[in-house]
Amino acid sequence: MLTDKAGQDAYKAPSPGISAENPRRTGGNLVQLISPEGERISHPEFDLWVSDVTDEQLCSLYEDMTVIRRIDAEATALQRQGELALWPPLLGQEASQIGSGRALRDDDFVFPSYRDNGVAYCRGVEPMDLVRAWRGNASSGWDPYRHNIATQQIIIGSQSLHATGYAMGIQHDGSDSVAVAFFGDGATSEGDVSEAMVFAASFQVPVVFICQNNHWAISEPVRIQSHIQIADRASGFGIPSMRVDGNDVLAVLAVTRIALDRARKGGGPTFIEAVTYRMGPHTTADDPTRYRDANELEDWAAKDPIARLKALLRTKGLLTEEVEAKTQAKADEVARNLRAGVINMPDPAPLDLFNHVYSTPNSWIERQKDHYSRYLESFSGSTQEGAL
């Protein structure tokens, strides 16, 4: 695993890091370290940021991406079978989520959107907890403080402000952890994302904005959201940005590390645009054939993030039968457990409805809870009568 323990960086930040001090914009050129064909492309600056990645760690990135793709496929299937009410697939975005998720330190804090299950997986959230809310069994699947990741956000862009506020707190505490916001390309049109960038730049707080440009916001193509490249938005706020191939796990790891390092050293916010593609539907409720061309999907399938890493591993002689078998076995096991867990998940108790609205008692809710529980109790009597 690449995820660091608090305070100990697994990699040594290159110094003096040109990129660290000034992660210059990369213009139209995507940062890329693995080509779509799976060749390792060397780059004088960015290579430094992944020079510590061992063969074993490359294999573990492959495993993570394979497992999260399997979780995603299983959850999609569970939705089709009526076991989940809805599911937002991340198919195609594995590299952008695992590459960034694995760059984080334990004490960094993530504010994700509904699609960032791969990031949550990197934070240690149990697969079962990823689906709890989508089954309708809980409003959130996990304890944010246990995994240092907020619960999923559905209001588009909202979490960018929460991350910025959290980063204001980090700055105030004098800590060197970082807050990270994940959102989509559509979200950059929302006022909250702009306001978050204003606050982040004005106060120079340790926040990293990671925009996964997956080219679509439900049915709206990215060109409806932005007339310029999304990464270019940030410069207007005085925030340096990087544009990275979001299907290249090493490149995403490198740029995320650069941004985190900069934030830890007091260098303020960074904006990352991870250029990727959502290969599935927006959620299981929509039909992408209504709005997008099959050729487009084909083009992007050729840039598949997992196939690419697999090809690299193969060239390097790392994709042994043993590694492949182990990876597939793990994915199979996770999927099996997820299916069993979902099917056996107990329904919540009716009166849970009223819990946690407030942290201290509230006379209105208590009265309603009391009245409703009496109402429910009235049935236990009548069932018996009916039985007589």
Partner: protein
Amino acid sequence: MSKLTFARAINAGLRKSLENDPKVVLMGEDIGALGGVFRVTDGLQKDFGKHRVVDTPLAESAIIGTAVGLAYRGYRPVCEIQFDGFIYPAFDQIVSQVAKMHYRTQGRVKMPITIRVPFGGGIGSPEHHSESPEAYFTHTSGLRVISVSNPQDAYTMIQQAIASDDPVLYFEPKRRYHDKGEVDETADLFTALSMEKARVVSPGSDVTLVAYGPLVKTASDAAMAASDEGISVEVIDLRSLAPIDFPAVEASVRKTGRLVITHEAAQSGGLGAEIAASITERCFNYLESAPVRITGFDIPYPYSKLEMHHLPDLDRILDGVDRALGRGNSLSGLEG
């Protein structure tokens, strides 16, 4: 005891909270060097520093949205919305995030955020500066909404709001900012009357008159005028608008049998409707007449030369009291 204006009393309460708890941070537009447009935060940045009293960029959604992130990290943000009419850009963060976070996270994440809102009319301001948006927030579960009516309450209730683990909207009647009153700054927060409780301002036996915020003073003046006519009006200051202390109102109505409610906000869907309905449900048999609402009209807040017609004043309240008592009033003879 010291005699303080309303604004100074809130200032003193904020100061005390800043002193007592290093996690308290103030955020808002112009609250630093200027001390806020109403000077409520006067001198606090000088004494506590720019990190505790933060002049923010002009972005209301961000003021509340970043407060959510700060609360996530264990801070207790106190946000100032400069004027009532500017709270709407922050509405989403308040109702979708602040209000629901505790519920959504099943109690794991607390949102001890206080949102101070100077509200209400009567100061001759241009548009967007005199609104009474409280009902939008009382309709949202997860928020506590309070409104203060006098310097002593202003002083203690701001501290109670900040100490609350739940989010609190704290509505300050801006036309009362310069009113003076006795404030006991040694008052112990936890023995002081809880912000959840309503208070009987003046006892009476003929009619219950419910008010909050800026109209408590107007209601008290009306009660005094009524007593000259031999009518005994019991004035209740709600203090908490969500939840409303219904048992207190109920006890009064059981005694008087009559209910008049007054607020500046528009009538339809307002708090008066909620109070009338709830009290009717709870003590229908004690009511001798239908509850009466004396409120602002269902219009956008008018330009200032007309605001005195819009705002309930002493005479309109007395007219309502007459209605509740079945005495001659402006609507006498009207059917329905």
